[in-house]
């Protein structure tokens, strides 16, 4: 912060403590992640015995082979990509124009709309009435049940509205209107091109949400072929269904012992964790700035 002044003894001790604390936090968070990466390519025997504790040992790609051969995982991947793209598009189409309208001071009724939307932050219908509504609309076992009930989040509308209100100069809009531009033209040609940062943030927030969600799919979908990745992962990681499936594969190749199956199954688990989280983990460091921006805009009360 303020440098150039020689550190006193107590400041040096304080800084050493701070850096130690931060370094411990770093290690605690990083270690499980590194462990999973290493375990996914290590000999499962060494993982199970605890011999592999940081760097991969007895490197094998068997886990990934099984993961890539599993058609369920690929179907799930495809479904998730579809739901994420469709869902995020709907989210943006609902959120952006509404947030822009709410950012306009000359929009008659914005207090009413804002109030109506905000109430839903605190009061909701609850799980069962929502389920019955979705069922009543005939959306059960269709992808619409996953993308429409969460088509907008009031939080994201507020964040975008704050951005529009603070970052698009009102004079620009006035000038465009005097020149006879309609509101639609103004929004599409002037406001949106200036709002790429917030569009990126919103697309990321909504997109990650769709990618990671499982609960909607669990209650609304009953057809395996429509399952998103997270639901397939739930079967493998939480319900441990891979054990028997892997067993089948192993038995076909060699007469393997029971605990060998379990070892392969856990190898597969590390593999699917990596494969399913990879897109986000790879993209994330590049987009981190935008995510952080999004949280910051949200924290400025608008």
């Amino acid at each position: 912060m303020v440098s150039g002044i020689k550190l006193s003894k107590r400041d040096r001790i304080f800084l050493i403590c701070t850096y130690t604390y931060v370094a411990i936090a770093l290690l605690l968070v990083a270690y499980p992640i590194l462990y999973i990466i290493s375990a996914s390519i290590s000999d499962p025997k060494m993982v199970a015995s605890g011999e592999m504790w940081l760097l991969p040992k007895g490197i094998t790609f068997k886990g990934y082979e099984i993961v890539f051969q599993n058609s369920k995982i690929w179907t799930g991947y495809g479904n998730t990509i579809l739901y994420t793209l469709l869902g995020t598009t709907i989210n943006l189409v609902v959120t952006m124009p509404a947030a822009y309208a709410l950012s306009r001071k000359d929009f008659v009724g914005r207090g009413f709309f804002m109030g109506m939307f905000m109430v839903t932050m605190f009061i909701g219908g609850g799980l069962v009435p929502t389920y019955m509504l979705v069922k009543g609309l005939g959306m059960v076992n269709t992808m619409w049940a996953l993308v429409l009930p969460g088509a907008a989040s009031i939080w994201n509308i507020i964040v975008s509205r704050t951005f529009f209100a603070n970052s698009i100069p009102a004079e620009l809009q006035d000038a465009a209107q005097i020149d006879g531009a309609t509101n639609i033209r103004l929004f599409l040609r002037i406001v949106l091109p200036l709002s790429m940062p917030i569009i990126a943030v919103m697309a990321l927030f909504y997109g990650v949400g769709h990618w990671n969600s499982y609960f909607g799919a669990m209650i609304y979908l009953n057809d395996d072929a429509k399952y998103p990745l997270q639901l397939v992962l739930r079967q493998i990681l939480v319900l441990q269904e891979m054990q028997s499936q892997v067993g089948g594969i192993i038995d076909a190749t060699a007469a393997a012992a029971q605990n060998n199956k379990a070892e392969i199954a856990s190898l597969v688990k590390y593999g699917v964790i990596i494969v399913s989280t990879l897109p986000i983990i790879v993209v994330y460091p590049f987009l981190q700035r935008y995510f952080v921006q999004g949280v910051m805009i949200g924290s400025v009360k608008g």
């Binding site: 499980p32 509404a98 499982y214």
Partner: protein, 323 residues
């Protein structure tokens, strides 16, 4: 725009009375900006259908809902479902589990991001700081299913990583996944691992707004770094802390039920069953629609009361309340 509007006002003012003028202006704004109503329409209908629609369905909490009879045909039973819930043998267990998990989470998960943010703020800008931030934010993006999978794998009694570590230190490892006594700790600490880093962002934003002059003045007065953190940085965070605390209190009865549902098993049920997982099970699995709607409604009413109460208390004692 303002200029033209003012001129407009003046001309209208000259031959019409004040009331008519305002009406005329509002009407003119509505006509001029009619497209904005198209902009808001999708969101309006979304909230109307998917947020207000279910609120209409809450009435079945007071009815004996039978799907074939529909909302209207089902008979009213008043508070029967609520009374049945309050008198059930599991009521106090559910309430206790829900509250204790929430408060445990609050006690551990609330201060850690604050301390972490204060520490991050002292670290010099550069590679190390960027690395720490990138790594600690990352778990936020891990899905709840993968998180649960990681917990189950790491704590697996035969070959879990954490079990190996504990045994390596010479202790005997408990059965984390299946013992009720460990469920809450497992839930809370995995949550801290996943979200403490991300939680610092909002505090770091507040810290970046500190006037550097304050620090300079404090240095001249001979304040140590610790004293500056204590007397400048921490007071800066208090408004943010208060707001987040109020919001957290308002959610005391809505614990992260997606993760609990995944970690729940028949052996740890006695400490892992919370109100929201109970609503899911009785409502969607056992199809007791009316009863579970009543339980859900009880849950949200308590949340609302808590939020309002805490906000009132805060408003009396400081100026940082939500409203």
């Amino acid at each position: 725009m303002q200029e033209t509007e003012k001129m407009h006002l003046r001309t209208i003012n000259s031959h019409k009375n004040v009331k008519r003028k305002f009406k005329g202006q509002t009407w003119k704004k509505i006509r001029q900006n009619w497209e904005l109503y198209i902009f808001i329409a999708p969101a309006f209908f979304y909230f109307l259908i998917f947020s207000y629609g279910p609120m209409y369905g809450i009435q079945i909490a007071f009815k004996n809902y039978i799907p074939s009879k529909g909302y209207f045909g089902s008979e009213w039973v008043g508070f029967d479902h609520f009374i049945r819930f309050f008198n059930s043998y599991y009521f106090w267990d559910l309430l206790w589990n829900t509250l204790s998990i929430s408060l445990y989470e609050l006690a551990i998960g609330f201060p850690i991001p604050i301390i972490l943010a204060l520490a991050f703020n002292e670290v010099k800008d550069g590679f190390f700081k960027r690395l720490v931030q990138t790594v600690t934010y990352a778990p936020h993006f891990i899905s709840v299913v993968v998180m649960a999978g990681m917990i189950i794998t790491f704590l697996s009694p035969s070959n879990g990583m954490i079990i190996h570590a504990i045994e390596g230190l010479g202790f005997s490892a408990p059965q984390f996944l299946t013992s009720p006594g460990w469920f809450k700790t497992m839930y809370v600490f995995s949550g801290v691992w996943q979200s403490a880093g991300w939680g610092t962002i909002i505090y770091l934003a507040a810290l970046s707004g500190v006037d550097p002059g304050l620090h300079e003045a404090a240095i001249i007065d001979g304040a140590s770094r610790f004293q500056r953190v204590r007397h400048i940085n921490i007071p800066t965070l208090i408004p943010t802390m208060t707001i987040l605390l109020i919001l957290n209190m308002g959610g005391l009865l809505s614990v992260g039920f997606e993760k609990i549902l995944l970690l729940q098993n028949s052996l740890n049920m006695s400490s892992s069953d919370v109100i929201s997982t109970f609503v899911y099970r009785s409502g969607l699995v056992d199809a007791q629609y009316s009863f579970s709607t009543a339980v859900g409604l009880f849950n949200s009413i308590v949340n609302c009361i808590l939020l309002i109460t805490v906000n009132q208390i805060v408003r009396r004692t400081s100026e940082n309340s939500l409203w």
